[in-house]
């Protein structure tokens, strides 16, 4: 295994530094030994479900225009996106 790409939202509850430590600890003597962990962090974002207007982080989570509760559109994901591995040498 060469590299793992993961996507972690800032409000997913996963702490990036601790995830790295855990990966370094548990990859030993597995196929991930020596593999790189590439982490994409995703800032949280909210938008109105009807008019799609963005609601800023830290603001009241309601649409300015129509008053509907905003919906989180990103920022809570914990996703293994892609792995890169050595193909058998043929």
């Amino acid at each position: 295994m060469h590299r793992l790409h993961v996507k972690i939202g800032e409000l997913s509850g996963v702490e990036i530094d601790l995830l790295k430590t855990a990966f370094d600890t548990f990859r030993e003597r597995t196929i991930c030994d020596g593999a790189e962990l590439a982490i994409d962090t995703v800032a949280p974002a909210w938008a109105c479900p009807s008019c799609e207007r963005a609601v800023e982080r830290g603001a009241i989570l309601r649409c300015d225009t129509c008053g509907r509760p905003a919906r989180m559109i990103q920022g809570d994901e914990i996703i293994l996106q892609r792995i890169e591995m050595e193909a058998p040498n043929v």
């Binding site: 060469h2 509850g13 009241i60 914990i78 996703i79 293994l80 892609r82 050595e86 193909a87 040498n89």
Partner: protein, 249 residues
């Protein structure tokens, strides 16, 4: 072999996965949810700090409902059966999930507890999570709603300091409100904080001690109860995705 430059190094192949890292827990939570739905049971994941008053609110709920609603609970506890003992004494059929040093419940732990739990004649099933404002929020247990107990002695800033927990809440119970006269506690500041992390901010002020707000809380629960289902008298058999079959009571 590397075909780009012929260097002889093995070729590196990217493979798209795009899978949630906690997908095992999600599958198990889905299974729990189908149990709850089949039983016509409203399942509530009750979270909050240690000492926020989760058990006390449930005791007060049992007292207020006076047997009208049949309540059941499992309590996540690191080392003791104290919460389940208290709840049983108050009339809530309860069991402990001993978590050892784990700081949260996951769907598998709840499922294991369900196997031995007499859930079939209950109306509402509370999953009293381990006291912790961080980790429990990450694990779906199969509940219909998340409720967070926040006591007035914890301070107004908790929603902004623990957004991961409060963003997942369907309801916040502001507990121990009988203490407000003795504290410099600003209820409006909590409401403002919640509105910034919780899109459909909903908060009820309750006191387990005086009973204030407990009726509103029971009303909130009643509104979420699923339509009654035909329950077989002898438990039910069903397929399991995890490779075993058994009867539930």
């Amino acid at each position: 072999m590397c075909e780009t430059c012929g260097c002889g190094d093995p070729e590196i192949v990217p493979i798209e996965v795009q899978e949630r890292i906690l997908s095992d827990n999600d599958v198990q939570a889905g299974h729990n949810r189908s149990h709850f739905e089949a039983l016509g049971l409203l399942a509530i994941n009750l979270m909050g700090s240690p000492g926020a008053g989760k058990t006390a609110v449930l005791e007060a709920s049992a007292k207020a409902t006076g047997g009208r609603l049949k309540l059941g609970a499992v309590s996540g506890d690191l080392a003791t059966d104290r919460d389940a003992d208290r709840l049983n004494a108050s009339g809530i059929v309860s069991a402990t999930i001993t978590t050892g040093s784990a700081c949260h419940l996951d769907a598998r732990l709840v499922h294991r507890a369900l196997h031995d739990f007499p859930a079939a004649d209950r109306d509402i099933f509370f999953i009293e999570n381990v006291g912790n404002l961080v980790c429990p929020a990450i694990y779906d247990l199969g509940q219909a709603a998340n409720v967070v107990a926040l006591s007035v002695t914890e301070g107004e800033d908790k929603p902004l300091k623990y957004p991961v927990m409060f963003q997942k809440a369907d309801l916040v119970l502001l507990t121990k409100v009988d203490l407000i006269p003795h504290l410099d506690f600003d209820v409006a500041a909590v409401e403002d904080g919640l509105a910034r992390v919780m899109p459909e901010a909903r908060m009820l002020k309750v006191s387990a001690k005086t009973g204030e707000g407990i009726d509103a809380w029971l009303q909130w629960l009643e509104e979420r109860r699923p339509a009654p289902v035909e329950r077989p008298a002898e438990g039910h058999q069903h397929e399991h995705s995890h490779g075993h079959h058994h009867e539930h009571h």
